[in-house]
Amino acid sequence: MPEVIARELTFGEAIREALAEEMRRDSRVVILGEDVAEAGTPFKVLAGLVQEFGPERVVDTPISEAGFTGIGVGAAMTGLRPVVDIMFGDFITLTMDQMANQAAKVHYMSGGMWKVPMVMRTTLGATRRSAAQHSQSLHAWFCHIPGLKVIMPSTPYDVKGLLKAAIRDDNPVIVFEDKMMYKLKGPVPVEEYTIPIGKADIKRAGEDITIVATSSMVQVALGAAVMLEEIGISAEVVDPRTLWPLDEHTLVESAKKTSRAIVIDEGYARYGTTAELASVIVEGAFFHLDQPVARMGAMHVPIPFSPPLEDATVPTERSVFDVARALCSKR
């Protein structure tokens, strides 16, 4: 076997490479958003794209999230494949009519006549000391609306393959990126690839307990799994990767195998992603479960600014470890 030379990219670099490849491949792909061109976004994720593709394709917009999202919808309906950049996930609230009432419904309401091949990229995640309006994880809002797809990549490899698939998808797809993860490094092949939307990934195989984790919580789950291993508990970490469509089969089969499950997600637990995923597991694996499915998400509070308060709002390796150990100690 030839030796494979691993190449590492950061999460942010993988996003940039995905966009650049798709923009080279398809002239209909354009980027719209605040400070996307010369600034390359506050996270510098898009740095260099305007130099290669020009300001006609990497378009700095006014601070008008509803307006430019809607322009993205209209442009998608009429021949382009826009990638709309919403700087902070908290700002999706401003785009809700365009996404929930327009983008999500155009195909269905028109009997399949008009399509909206649009991607919205935005962020999630707390612990950046950005307070209540720049720290939320609101992906569940979009998961609730039929007609939208929601993807939650957790590694540089996944974000590149999923973003490329999203750009090629004929539906509105929202990509949530954990802003704490932009500097995370991981292997990304040089060869082109895409990852199908709707396929979970087992990030770590195990026997005793299933930890289903999304986006920012995947690294937390993997950290907890290492701690659990030290006390003799083998944890399987399952990353759904896409929340809708959802690979229910992989979640259910893992829970059937281990007979215990925790679901972790950085969104609010109440009426949130963890509720849906736990319900899928319970419905599909009920007779195989030894314990109730545990849910861990953000506390039901606005994200506070003060560091010790903010840190208390989201699951940590330690808190996941504690819950897993408790579940596994019960017979």
Binding site: E56, G70, I71, G74, G79, Q102, G111, G112, M113
Partner: protein, 330 residues
């Protein structure tokens, strides 16, 4: 800001004038049938009639090509017909039938027609403004010379997305025309109670070329539209056309007792003195283009056509229940 040129100064050919008149009569007849369908309890839900406002849709769409885009509103039947949709498939959509433009899934407020560039009617007031602007963004990017027309009522002047969209349209010189149909009532409230300042001052603030036209005069609307479409195609950017018009019926077919928000006298005055069909017919007769008998024949012909279209819609089947989950995703 300029006022549209006097239509008497324009030279609209006879064929076009007859076509526009015919189209206005069709829209009026269509809406009368819709009201009958409601009264006969054959139509699920409600519908918002365009009667009284025909000259706006017809004058604007007459200035557009088949490839040009429109977006429409909850009061959208007139826009769809004027852009070229067929009455039978529209009635079928209104009745929720499989033969409707959207397989019955959209209904009165969501009719779309890709073949005529109709991106769809919209039940969110102002909901299609950014979409129309996005279509213009595509046209400019793809250099395909298409113009996008966004119809909206004066009620949408209250929506922020209008101002966000006009700002970007002007910054980027997009070929989009914002057609504000001022029928004076935001549902059940007179627009003067909801709208501060001068309407034309709003587009003007963004540097968007703005005009006002008599929305009851189809020749005037067409003349203004033709000029603005031409301007947009030349790359001179967006425009805003304020069309003052009047909604003959209630907010929707079920809005019967309206005296708490407008008088019968006011309604009657618009119908008798400002009717766009009567105005156009009088002008055609005065110009010696047609006589009264020909006008009557045309009305009879169109009424028969609409009755036939309704019959088709009533008799054509509903979609199968298995279709409920189809087309959620492309």
């Amino acid at each position: 800001m300029t006022i549209a040129t006097d239509p008497s100064e324009t030279d609209i050919d006879v064929g076009r004038r007859l076509r526009m008149y015919r189209q206005m009569v069709s829209i009026r007849a269509f809406e009368e049938q819709v009201n009958q369908l409601y009264l006969r309890a054959l139509m699920p839900g409600l519908a918002h009639l365009y009667s009284g406002e025909e000259a706006v849709a017809v004058g604007i769409c007459e200035a557009l090509g088949a490839d040009d885009y429109i977006t429409s509103t909850h009061r959208g039947h007139g826009h769809c017909l004027a852009k070229g949709a067929a009455p039978d498939r529209m009635f079928a959509e209104l009745l929720g039938k499989a033969a409707g433009y959207c397989h019955g899934k959209g209904g009165s407020m969501h009719i779309a027609d890709a073949a005529t560039g109709n991106l769809g009617a919209n039940a969110i007031v102002g909901g299609s403004i950014a979409i129309a602007t996005g279509a213009a963004f595509s046209s400019k990017y793809l250099h395909n010379n298409r113009v996008s027309v966004c119809f909206f009522g004066e009620g949408a002047l209250g929506q922020g997305v209008l101002y966000e969209s006009m700002n970007m349209a002007q910054l980027w010189r997009l070929p989009v025309i914002y057609v504000c149909e001022n029928n004076f009532y935001n549902e059940y409230t007179h627009f003067s109670e909801t709208t501060a300042g001068e309407i034309l001052g709003r587009p003007a603030a963004f540097g968007v070329h703005a005009e006002c036209v008599d929305g009851q005069d189809v020749d005037a609307v067409y003349t203004a539209a033709a000029r603005l479409v031409h301007r947009a195609r030349r790359g001179e950017g967006p425009a805003f056309l304020l069309c003052n018009t009047y909604r003959y019926t209630g907010h929707h077919v079920g809005d019967i007792n309206r005296e708490y928000y407008r008088s019968k006298q006011e309604e009657q005055q618009w119908v008798t003195e400002r009717d766009p069909l009567k105005h156009a017919a009088d002008r055609l007769i005065a110009g010696g283009i047609v006589d009264r008998a020909e006008i009557d024949r045309l009305h009879a012909e169109i009424n028969a056509e609409m009755e036939k279209a309704v019959e088709f819609a009533v008799s054509t089947p509903y979609p199968g229940v298995e279709e409920v989950e189809q087309d959620v995703y492309a």
